[in-house]
């Protein structure tokens, strides 16, 4: 809804905070999602995401959510679907060139970004949208992506050791393993 969208942008700082919490929760849940299977949770999570974000931000479920970089103003509400800032046609008063009764999504975005801790992210150049991801859950994408990053950092230590001690690894494979460790095989307290 247009009105709630404007509300969210006015309170972009609070929504940014909530979003950061949500992101952390999604990362913690990654093992759970992975166990159940990301494929199986995709539809139900996407449905919830669509309901919540649709209500708050008029979300169009592009699947590549960038709200934290756009002042909590969803860029897919721009009739030209611009991802990197306002076009040259903004009307006096900040109204949209194409929909004269709507405030320009990007004028709102710059405004919203001034109330956010990470407001400067709006200066980053965003890539074109992958249209084949439309309708899918961006939340799950974030949780997969961030969890993969953490995993990568852990794995890079393991692969470095395996490559630095090739002879030991050949003689005693368990001394410098390359394979990923199942979660029960590692001491959780140690790794915290």
């Amino acid at each position: 809804m247009y009105r709630t969208r404007l509300f969210a942008i006015r309170h972009s700082g609070k929504f940014e905070w909530m979003y950061q919490r949500l992101e952390k929760l999604m990362i913690v849940l990654d093992p759970v999602f992975a166990r159940i299977g990301y494929n199986r949770v995709e539809q139900p999570v996407a449905l919830i995401e669509k309901g919540v974000k649709g209500l708050l931000f008029d979300c169009k479920m592009c699947g590549q959510c960038v709200l934290s970089s756009t002042g909590m103003s969803c860029p897919m509400n721009c009739p030209k679907e611009l991802r990197n800032g306002p076009c040259g046609g903004v009307r006096p008063g900040g109204y949209c060139e194409v929909k004269p009764n709507m405030l320009c999504v990007w004028a709102l975005a710059w405004d919203g970004s001034t109330r956010m801790k990470g407001g400067n992210k709006i200066r980053e150049v965003l890539p074109p949208v992958d249209r084949s991801l439309k309708g899918s859950s961006a939340w799950l994408r974030v949780s997969r992506e961030k969890a993969a990053k953490l995993r990568e950092a852990r794995e890079s230590a393991r692969t470095t050791i395996a490559q630095a001690f090739p002879a030991a690894r050949a003689n005693e494979p368990s001394s410098a393993p390359l394979a990923e460790e199942p979660s029960r095989a590692v001491n959780k307290e140690q790794r915290q």
Binding site: P79, L82, G89, V90, V98, A107, D111, R123, V125, P127
Partner: protein, 334 residues
């Protein structure tokens, strides 16, 4: 028969750009040498006759460093910018090939960029494009697969990394001088300089602005641009154009997206005995004032339906300083 030697007069060979340049474009050469550059917009014909393109280009060719071939600006259908650009390169002119994101998706655009470069195009202007609703065919499907900034980054990737966005290799990458637009006098005013910075970050080598009629507003914009250090990173050409009458000015202001004309300018047009001459005079004054603003590297003249005035405006403004931007012989290309 398709040996490129036999086509020599029509083809500009694929060549590496000169040292310190990204393209073999004359516009780039002029700008890098520190001279005040002049570009102008060609009004695209509604015709399939190449002679119409050359007729429109002739008066411009003598006085400008590059001619902009517009891409259905205002969402009105005309001869395509790639067609016009190809015709212009054949005659030795240096076109600025305008690409709008409104009508074509990423597959078409990347292919056209290679095609244009092969036809001898060395300057590209990346635009978002006006909405289809203001044009002559409002029922068309708006594409907007890219925006101007992702388009810039894409062409820069093609040029500097030699790959398509898919990662597939381009055997001979296009050497292009990359341009973008900015609209300093349009809301949100405070953020326009930051958006310009974003365009530079994405790959813009030069900027052509939309019409400037409001010097104080433009000066404010340029102050901030200089604060951001952008005048050192990108060449800025300020857009100007002659108004035909007060009525035409009012019509433009309310019907063409992104045009800001202060009431004082319209009042001056209204009070003039000969509006067309007054429009020209205002335009010359604007060029002279813009030239004094620090960080401006040139002007871009857009004369919708007043192309006959363009060369007079440029010559009378004195920006050429006796320099004649004559085109080279047809054989050497641009």
């Amino acid at each position: 028969m398709t040996n490129s030697d036999t086509l020599e007069p029509f083809l500009r060979p694929y060549e590496p750009p000169p040292e310190g340049h990204v393209s073999g474009s004359r516009l780039e050469r002029v700008l890098r040498s520190g001279r005040f550059a002049v570009t102008a917009e060609l009004n695209p014909p509604d015709s399939a006759d190449p002679a119409d393109v050359y007729e429109a280009a002739r008066p411009l060719g003598e006085v400008v460093d590059a001619i902009n071939a517009t891409d259905a600006s205002g969402a009105n259908c005309h001869m395509s910018s790639i067609g016009i650009s190809a015709l212009l390169t054949r005659a030795g002119y240096g076109p600025v090939y305008q690409i709008s994101c409104r009508d074509r998706n990423r597959i078409a655009i990347q292919g056209d960029v290679l095609g244009a470069a092969a036809m001898g195009v060395r300057n590209v202007l990346c635009l978002t494009g006006d909405g289809v609703g203001v044009g002559d065919q409002p029922g068309a499907k708006p594409v907007f697969d890219f925006d101007s900034i992702t388009l810039l980054r894409t062409i820069r990737t093609m040029r500097d990394q030699g790959v398509f966005l898919s990662g597939r290799k381009i055997t001979n990458p296009p050497h292009l001088f990359l341009g973008a637009a900015e609209n300093p006098c349009i809301e949100p005013h405070d953020w326009r300089p930051d958006r310009l910075a974003k365009k530079v970050e994405a790959g813009a080598d030069f900027i052509q602005t939309n019409y400037i009629f409001d010097i104080p507003l433009f000066e404010k914009f340029m102050n901030r641009v200089r604060d951001l250090g952008m005048d050192k990173k990108v060449f800025i050409l300020a857009g100007v154009g002659p108004l035909a009458s007060a009525k035409a000015a009012r019509w433009m202001r309310s019907n063409v997206p992104g045009i800001h004309i202060p009431d004082s300018v319209i009042a001056r047009m209204e009070g003039a005995e000969k509006p067309a001459a007054e429009g020209k005079k205002i335009c010359i004054e604007l060029i002279q004032r813009i030239r004094e603003i620090q960080g401006v590297s040139g002007v871009h003249v857009m004369a919708y339906r007043r192309e006959h005035q363009v060369s007079e405006i440029i010559i009378e403004s004195g920006v050429l300083e006796g320099r004649h931007a004559k085109r080279k012989s047809r054989k050497r290309g641009e």
